[in-house]
C-alpha cells in the first residue's frame, strides 16, 4: 500500500488544465462545412456516408450540402472524398448543443431552413407520448453541481468515453459532476445508445423516478438519432422519441472533452469550456 501511495505521489497531477482543447492533428473529429463552393453535380460525400447524414441539393443552379451531425458517426470518409474542401474535418471538441436544429448544417443558409426543420421531426415515431420537459427557467439550477444518472442502451463505447471523462486526465468531478447510483438523487439523466424496444420502458421509469427539475442529455449519435440502427424493427431511433432532451452531444462516440462540454452546457457553465491559450 505504501508503495502505491509513493507511486501515485511521484506521478504528480495528471489533470489537463486546458479545458476542451482542439483535437490533435490527424485525429478525426466531426465534419464541418466551409465557404468553399460545392462542385456542381458532385455527390461523392453522399455516396460514401454510411448513415445518410449528408444530402446534396440545388438552389439557383448551385450545388449545396446539408449535413446532419445528429446522424453522422464521424467516420471522416466524406472529408476524404470531398474535392472542393467544402466538407472539412472539424478539430473542435466543443460540439454539444441545446437543440436538435443546431446539429443540422447547410451551405445554403436561410434558403434551406424549412427543409432543415423537416429533417428534425422526420422519423420520430411516438411524438405524442413524449412528456413535456421540466421548466428550467433558472439556468443556474445545477450551476454548482449536478448529479447524473447514466442509462446505457448502446454499444458501450459512449459509456467508456463517459468513464474516461471521469479519469484523472479529464476529471469532470472538478466541475461538480457526480455519477450517481440511483435516479432518486439524480438531476441529470445521461442516455447513451439508441434506446431500442428492450430499454424503452426501463428508461421511462428511470426518468419518472427522478425529481424535478430534470435535464436529459443524449450522449452520442445513437442517442440523438439512432445512428446506424435508425429505422429498424427494434425501434432504435434515439432518445427524443421517448423523452424531452435538453442537450445533444454528437459523435460516435463523442470525445471525453465533448461529453464534458455537453454536461457543462446542461449546467449552464459552458463558458468554462472556452479553450484558454497556453
Amino acid at each position: 500500500m505504501l508503495k502505491l501511495i509513493t507511486y501515485l505521489l511521484q506521478q504528480g497531477v495528471a489533470t489537463a488544465k486546458n479545458i476542451c482543447p482542439d483535437l490533435a492533428e490527424g485525429v478525426i473529429g466531426l465534419p464541418m462545412l466551409t465557404d468553399a463552393p460545392c462542385q456542381s453535380g458532385c455527390t461523392a460525400c453522399v455516396e460514401v456516408c454510411p448513415t445518410d447524414a449528408i444530402s446534396v441539393f440545388n438552389i439557383d443552379d448551385a450545388n449545396h450540402v446539408r449535413l446532419d451531425l445528429g446522424a453522422c458517426i464521424g467516420c471522416g470518409y466524406c472529408v476524404d472524398v470531398c474535392p472542393t474542401g467544402t466538407i472539412k474535418n472539424n478539430p473542435t471538441t466543443r460540439v454539444a448543443v441545446r437543440t436538435r436544429e443546431e446539429l443540422i448544417l447547410t451551405t445554403a443558409g436561410a434558403a434551406a431552413e424549412a427543409a432543415n426543420k423537416e429533417l428534425v421531426t422526420q422519423g420520430r415515431t411516438a411524438a405524442a407520448k413524449i412528456p413535456t420537459a421540466d421548466s428550467l427557467s433558472k439556468a443556474s439550477w445545477f450551476g454548482r453541481s449536478v448529479a447524473a444518472r447514466v442509462v446505457s442502451t448502446g454499444c458501450s463505447a459512449c459509456d467508456m468515453e463517459l468513464g474516461a471523462a471521469g479519469n484523472p486526465i479529464f476529471d469532470m468531478e472538478r466541475f461538480g459532476v457526480h455519477i450517481v447510483a440511483s435516479p432518486r438523487f439524480a438531476d441529470a439523466l445521461i442516455v447513451t445508445g439508441p434506446v431500442s424496444k428492450g430499454m424503452q420502458e426501463a428508461l421511462v421509469s428511470c426518468y419518472g423516478a427522478m425529481s424535478s427539475p430534470r435535464v436529459v442529455i443524449a450522449l452520442g449519435t445513437c442517442a440523438i438519432s439512432g445512428g446506424v440502427h435508425k429505422g429498424g424493427y427494434a425501434e432504435a431511433n434515439g432518445v427524443d422519441n421517448i423523452l424531452p432532451v435538453n442537450v445533444y452531444i454528437p459523435g460516435c462516440p463523442p470525445h471525453p472533452w465533448s461529453i464534458i462540454h455537453g454536461i457543462l452546457l446542461a449546467m449552464g457553465k459552458e463558458h468554462l469550456a472556452l479553450a484558454k491559450k497556453k
Partner: protein, 495 residues
C-alpha cells in the same frame, strides 16, 4: 475463409456432432443458426488445422429435436434460433426467449424469410418466467436492467440462501438493436460501419472479421502491409481493453490507486489507436480491401509509444500482483472447472483461465496470424486470479507483438481495388481473436449476390453462462468482482 454449404440430413448431423464434440475430438461448434428459417446451419471448427465446415440441414414442420440435451453448448444458440426464426428445438431443457422481450408481437420472428407453416402456433409466452428456487429461507434478489455504475444493461436474478448464491439466472437482450438484420439492409460496401457498432470496444475486431469474410467471398488478396497494419491495430484494441479491465479489478478490490493509474494508462493505449487510425476506438480503419493509410512516421511513434507504455505499466501491474490482499481476494473465487468450461464451449479469457488452449490467433488465419501469433497466455486456476493473470499475460504479449510487427511492417499500398459485386450463393467466414475471445462473422449471399443473412457470434455469447456456473455457491458480495473478471459484452451478445 470461403465455405461450401454441405447439405446434411438430420440423422447424419446428429452423428457428426456426437463425434465432433466427443472427448477424443478437438473440434468445436462455432455457431448454430438459420439462413431463411427453413433450415439450420451448423458451423463446425477444426482448430488444429485451421479449417471449418458448414452443414445445412433442412427443417421439416418448423421443428427438430434439440441438440442441447446432449451438447450443452447449444443451449443459447437454440433459444436465439427460435427468437429470430421461429424454429422450435423440441425437448430443449430450458426453452424460453433469449433476446427478444415482451414488447414484440407473439409471432414476430425478424430474420425469418419464408412463411410460417399455416398450422404453426407459437406456444411460448413472451412473458419471461425466471427459474424459481424453492425452499425455506431462499430469497430472490433482482438486479438490473439498469445498473448502478456506467455499464451496459442486463438483468441478474439471484436466488440466495443467506449470503450464498444458489442460482443465478441472467436475462439479456435489453440492447438488442437488430444489428444482424441491418447488416443485410445496407449496401455491403458500407456494412463495416454497422459491424463496428455491434460492440464498440470490439469495433476493430468486428471490422476485421467482417473484412476477412467479405474478402474470402471475393477471393480477394490484400497487401502484405495491410495485413501487418490490421494485426497491429487488433493488438492495440486488445491492449486498451485489458488495461481498463485489470484496472477495474483494482476498483472492485478497493485499490483505487491501481484503477486510476490504469485509467490514465488506457489513455496512452487509446493514443496509439489515434495514431494508427485517427480514432480512439479504431473506427473506420479496416474495410474490405485494406486499411486507411498509415505513414512511417506514425508507425515509429507507435513503437515509441509501446515502449513507453510498457515502462509505465510495469510498476502498476507489479503492485497489483505483489499485493497479498488482492491475491487472496481473487483466489478460489468465481471458480470454473476445465471440464464444464469445455462442455459449454467457453472461449477467450475464460477458457484460457481454465487451461484450455483456445486462442484462435494460433489456429485460424487472421492478418499475420497464425504465422506471428504470440505464445498463448494460459492459466489453470479457473478463478478470478487466473483470469486476471491471463489478461496481464496478454498485455505483455500484445506489447511485444506490436513491436515485432512494426519492425517488420513492409512498405507498399494499404488497399487494393474491390469488385462492385459479391458472387451469388457464396458463404464467407471470418474468425478473429477479439479481446474477449473467438469472434465469428458468417455471411451468406443469395442468387443475386446480395447479403441475405449475416450472423455474428460474439465471444460473450458463449461465455455468459460461465458467470452463472462460476458464481454458484459463492457469496453474493463476490459477484461484482467475479463479473468484472469476466468483463463480458452485453451489446455484442444482444446485437
Amino acid at each position: 475463409m470461403k465455405l461450401e454449404r454441405q447439405q446434411t440430413p438430420f440423422h447424419e448431423l446428429h452423428d457428426i456432432l456426437d463425434h465432433a464434440l466427443s472427448k477424443s475430438s478437438d473440434k468445436r461448434v462455432g455457431l448454430l443458426t438459420s439462413i431463411t428459417g427453413g433450415e439450420i446451419a451448423t458451423l463446425l471448427l477444426s482448430p488444429k488445422d485451421g479449417t471449418a465446415e458448414l452443414m445445412v440441414t433442412a427443417v421439416e414442420n418448423n421443428k427438430y429435436s434439440s441438440f442441447s440435451t446432449h451438447h450443452a453448448q447449444f443451449h443459447w444458440f437454440e433459444r436465439a434460433l427460435f427468437d429470430f426464426f421461429g424454429i422450435v428445438p423440441e425437448g430443449h431443457p430450458r426453452f424460453k426467449h433469449l433476446l427478444l422481450h415482451d414488447q414484440y408481437a407473439q409471432d414476430f420472428f425478424p430474420l425469418r424469410k419464408i412463411d410460417l407453416p399455416t398450422d404453426f402456433r407459437n406456444a411460448l409466452p413472451r412473458r419471461y418466467e425466471f427459474l424459481e428456487v424453492k425452499g425455506e429461507g431462499v430469497y430472490e434478489l433482482p438486479v438490473g436492467p439498469i445498473h448502478a455504475g456506467v455499464i451496459e444493461p442486463g438483468h441478474f436474478r439471484f436466488s440466495c440462501f443467506g449470503e450464498t448464491i444458489v442460482n443465478l439466472e441472467i436475462r439479456l437482450g435489453w440492447v438488442h438493436r437488430g444489428v444482424e438484420k441491418r447488416l443485410t439492409e445496407v449496401p455491403w460496401q458500407k456494412a463495416h460501419f454497422v459491424a463496428e457498432a455491434a460492440a464498440s470496444d470490439t469495433a476493430l475486431a468486428n471490422a476485421f472479421a467482417h473484412a476477412i469474410a467479405i474478402e474470402s467471398i471475393l477471393d480477394l488478396e490484400i497487401t502484405e502491409r495491410a495485413q501487418y497494419l490490421r494485426t497491429i491495430a487488433l493488438e492495440i484494441e486488445r491492449l486498451a481493453v485489458h488495461i481498463i479491465d485489470v484496472g477495474g479489478i483494482g476498483t472492485d478490490i478497493g485499490l483505487l490507486g491501481i484503477s486510476s493509474a490504469m485509467g490514465r494508462l488506457r489513455g496512452k493505449a487509446l493514443a496509439l489507436a489515434d495514431l494508427i487510425s485517427g480514432s480512439r476506438f479504431l473506427r473506420g480503419f479496416i474495410f474490405p480491401g485494406g486499411v486507411r493509410p498509415v505513414s512511417e512516421r506514425k508507425l515509429s511513434e507507435i513503437k515509441a509509444g509501446v515502449i513507453a507504455l510498457k515502462k509505465d505499466l510495469t510498476p502498476v501491474i507489479q503492485m497489483l500482483s505483489d499485493n497479498q490482499m488482492a491475491t487472496e481476494r481473487m483466489k478460489d473465487i468465481g471458480k470454473l472447472s476445465k471440464s464444464l468450461a469445455a462442455e459449454f464451449g467457453m472461449v477467450g479469457i475464460i477458457g484460457k483461465a481454465c487451461g484450455i488452449d483456445c486462442d484462435t490467433r494460433r489456429q485460424f488465419q487472421q492478418g499475420k496470424y497464425p504465422e506471428l501469433a504470440p505464445e498463448p497466455s494460459i492459466e489453470i486456476g479457473g478463478d478470478i486470479l487466473a483470469r486476471t493473470a491471463v489478461r496481464v499475460g496478454e498485455i505483455w504479449s500484445s506489447l511485444k507483438t506490436i513491436e515485432t510487427l512494426v519492425d517488420n511492417c513492409p512498405h507498399g499500398e494499404e488497399k487494393v481495388t474491390v469488385p462492385e459485386m459479391l458472387p451469388a450463393n457464396a458463404t464467407g467466414l471470418g474468425i478473429v481473436e477479439a479481446t474477449r475471445g473467438e469472434l465469428i462473422h458468417l455471411i451468406f449471399t443469395d442468387e443475386d449476390g446480395k447479403i441475405c443473412r449475416y450472423a455474428i457470434k460474439d465471444p460473450s455469447f458463449d461465455n455468459w453462462t460461465a458467470i452463472s456456473i462460476a458464481i454458484r455457491d459463492n457469496l453474493i458480495a463476490d459477484f461484482p468482482l467475479c463479473n468484472k473478471s469476466m468483463a463480458l459484452s452485453y451489446s455484442g451478445n444482444d446485437l
